[in-house]
Amino acid sequence: MDLVKLYFRSPPAVIGLVLLILVLVMAASADFLYPRDPLALAGRPLIWPFSNPRFLLGTDNSGRDIAAQIFHGARISLLIGGVATAISIMIGITIGALAGYYGAYVDTALMRVTEAFQTLPNFLLLLVLVAVFGSTITTVTVAIGIVSWPASARLTRAEFLSLRNREFVQAGRTLGLRDIRLIFGEILPNALPPVIVYASVVMAIAILLESALAFLKLSDPNVASWGNLIGAGRDVLRVQWYVSAIPGIAILVTVLAVSLVGQGLNDALNPRLKSR
């Protein structure tokens, strides 16, 4: 597949992939390296990193091992990012496909709903959803998914509008294919690549949203997510700034990795853009 060859030609994309693999390894090896519950009291609170061999990255203001929380946090943040992205892409594709394919009334109605979601500031809607349905990890993830689908809906709709009258679709129609087969069999496979690439942007935003929620102490306290660690670190920020800094860097690296991979895929998909 020349896509892979094209992908590896750009150095940032490779760096992104390496970082992503690093985070994935961190998530996978969490149980092995830190078998104990990351939220368990491990030692005295607020030990500085590298000052105590037992706690490589020190402890937070609840005496929990920061390194353990970073490793387990990787899994949680990727989970939240991944599932929320899947939900938002799923909703986005269905609404985008229907609006783009059928047009006219269906399109206007669905576009009004999309506009409604986009006019309402998404973080505000997220606050309301969390205030209403509580701050468990499931509600937070679903809420992030519900809040971030309009962009992918617009993208899918644009793809469908351009593909809908493409000749191979008309050919399908003359062969007697039903709408459903046309949408999912013919158009969707061609509309997916840009949406999949956009998924990296949605995932980046999902992880950032979760960390913002945790910063306002609205995320799930029973889960060792990076956002919670930043939220906890906020109270000791002036002196033990590392409690917030370390998870901040972890989020930075993960979102950077996801975005670089997304960008690499995008450039590989339409190489014309790359070379002038």
């Binding site: 191979f168 399908g172 294919l177 070379s275």
Partner: protein, 543 residues
């Protein structure tokens, strides 16, 4: 007269991984003042690359790696970028193929033409405006004052090309390079533009390097001609000599592949109609608010035609004449408001969507753009078998049938496993044909099936169509804007203009004694009318 532009043994290297090492290999050409040199060749022959090399506007990664380009004795390859810029536009000017996209959509025509004077002269704004208006006058654009202020999207294709020519000739350049300027235009507009270029060239004595793939155009305006193939100049000389008796085998094949305008002797047609189209019309209402200020376009107005069994009915006309809309109405991709389309006794126009879905097997369509008519993500064999599977045939059986159909259309049956991007343009049209024939339709509707192909490939596909028509007794509705192709393929022809059929009848009579003034104008504007008279359609396959 000493040549004003000389290409001496010029080679241009392509970046690694291209289909061949050199875009241009040891090309030598000479262009004298007050002369039109046509460079003709198929796509990929390197003719456009020649123009870019002269202007030193090569795409990224492509470099000149040999030879000299002398303009008025100076070697352009050696010039610095700053000096080259002085030559571009002032010394050598260029016009391009796509009038729709060659002008900046966000700035007015007058602005863009005026820019030439801003770049290369010290004229004041007022003088520039006057000169621009004069230029617009010179290229005979209707209402130059309006055109000056207009934006590109407000002009027709032809007017835009005139504006491009005005821009190019602003500073009376010594050399004008025209890279397929009329390919995207309708035949009538093309005729006017060719005449305009001819007149301006004569009056101003400019040397014109005219790049085209259409031998008709060569016959029409070229003083001398150079034929290119795969980056090399295979033959060059006076137009009559080269066209009269081509020396190089490749040139001979190319000329032979150009369908003559005179139709072959008429075939006897059965008198039993397989399909009758009665009073079909379709109108589009766009914009407007609650009925007020609506723009109504009558795409198809009260068209009635008859397709005899086994015959080929050609529908010709310029873009916007409604021929495609009519074709799409036949297969119900578009629902006509009124009228009947009776096929084997069933009126297709009145069927519900569900009924049409099963009746569609009797009438199938072949599309124009080879690259868009196949789903890139679906194997070629599957695309052909899809119709059969939908109509109830078991998958393995359908795939087997697809292999047979690949053989029928002259493709390697094993190719059913490959993806569309692995085929050439001509092969893809064959796959399209196989797909249409899979359901054994009574009528085949072909919408400009060969317009996007090179002339040699075009000839092969037309030959295949003729064989299939013979073997399967197909009745075909053939839509095209190229009268030469129509002349060779169709038995009957209907000439459409702004949605109406202005003339119809056996193609031989219509083309030799056209009754309707529009048909006469249409036939008159075909470039190189008498070129290739009295020759049978070339039979042997071209390498």
């Amino acid at each position: 007269m000493s040549p004003i532009l000389v290409l001496d043994d010029v080679s241009v290297k392509l970046p690694a991984g291209g289909d061949r090492a050199h875009a241009m290999a040891n090309v030598s050409l000479a262009l004298a003042a007050n002369e039109i040199l046509c460079v003709v060749g198929e796509s990929g022959s390197g003719k456009s690359m020649t123009a870019n090399a002269i202007m030193r506007l090569l795409p990224g990664g492509v470099t000149i790696d040999g030879g000299r380009i002398l303009f008025e004795g100076r070697d352009l390859c050696g010039l610095s970028e700053a000096e080259m810029r002085k030559v571009r536009g002032a010394g050598i000017a260029m016009i391009f193929q796509e009038p729709m996209t060659a002008l900046n959509p966000l700035r007015s025509i007058g602005d863009q033409i005026g820019e030439m004077f801003e770049l290369h002269s010290e004229l004041s704004a007022a003088e520039i405006k006057a000169r621009t208006l004069a230029l617009l006058e010179e290229v005979r654009i209707p209402d130059p004052a309006l055109a000056f202020k207009a934006y590109p999207h407000e002009l027709s294709g032809g007017q835009r090309q005139r504006a491009m020519i005005a821009m190019a000739l602003a500073l009376d350049p010594k050399v004008l390079i025209a890279d397929e300027p009329t390919t995207a235009l309708d035949v009538t507009t093309q005729a006017q533009i060719l005449k305009l270029i001819r007149d301006l060239q004569r009056r101003k004595g400019t040397a014109v390097l005219f790049i085209t793939h259409d031998f008709g155009v060569v016959a029409e305006i070229a003083d001398r001609v150079a034929v290119m193939s795969k980056g090399e100049v295979v033959e060059a000389g006076e137009t009559e000599a080269v066209l009269g008796n081509p020396q190089h085998a490749y040139t001979r094949q190319l000329i032979a592949a150009v369908p003559p305008l005179k139709a072959p002797p008429a075939r006897t047609l059965s008198d039993e109609p397989i399909m009758t189209i009665a009073h079909v019309s379709k109108t589009y209402r766009t914009g407007g608010f609650l009925g007020r200020g609506q723009r109504v376009t009558h795409a198809v107005k009260d068209v009635s035609l008859v397709l005899p069994k086994g015959a080929t009915l050609g529908i010709v006309g310029e873009s916007g004449s409604g021929k495609s809309t009519l074709a799409r109405c036949l297969v119900r991709l578009i629902d006509p408001e009124s009228g009947e389309i009776r096929l084997n006794g069933i009126d297709l126009a009145s069927l519900s969507r569900e009924e049409m879905r099963s009746a569609t097997r009797h009438i199938q369509m072949v599309f124009q753009d080879p690259f868009a008519s196949l789903n890139p993500r679906r194997k070629a064999g599957e695309a052909v078998a899809q119709g059969l599977i939908v109509h109830g045939m078991a998958r393995p059986q359908a795939l087997a049938r697809a292999k047979e159909l690949f053989g029928l259309v002259g493709l390697d049956p094993a190719a059913t496993e490959r993806y569309p991007h692995e085929f050439s343009g001509g092969q893809r049209q064959r796959i399209g044909l196989a797909r249409a024939l899979a359901l054994e339709p009574a009528v085949l509707v072909a919408d400009e099936p060969v317009s996007a192909l090179d002339v040699s490939v075009q000839a092969q596909v037309l030959k295949l169509l003729a064989e299939l028509r013979q073997r399967l007794g197909l009745s075909i509705v053939f839509i095209t804007h190229d009268l030469r192709v129509a002349a060779q393929v169709c038995d009957l022809v209907a000439v459409m203009k702004s949605g109406e059929v202005v003339e119809a009848g056996p193609i031989g009579t219509v083309f030799s004694e056209p009754q309707h003034p529009y048909t006469q104008a249409l036939l008159a504007s075909i470039p190189g009318r008498d070129f290739g008279e009295g020759r049978e359609l070339a039979h042997e396959p071209v390498a």
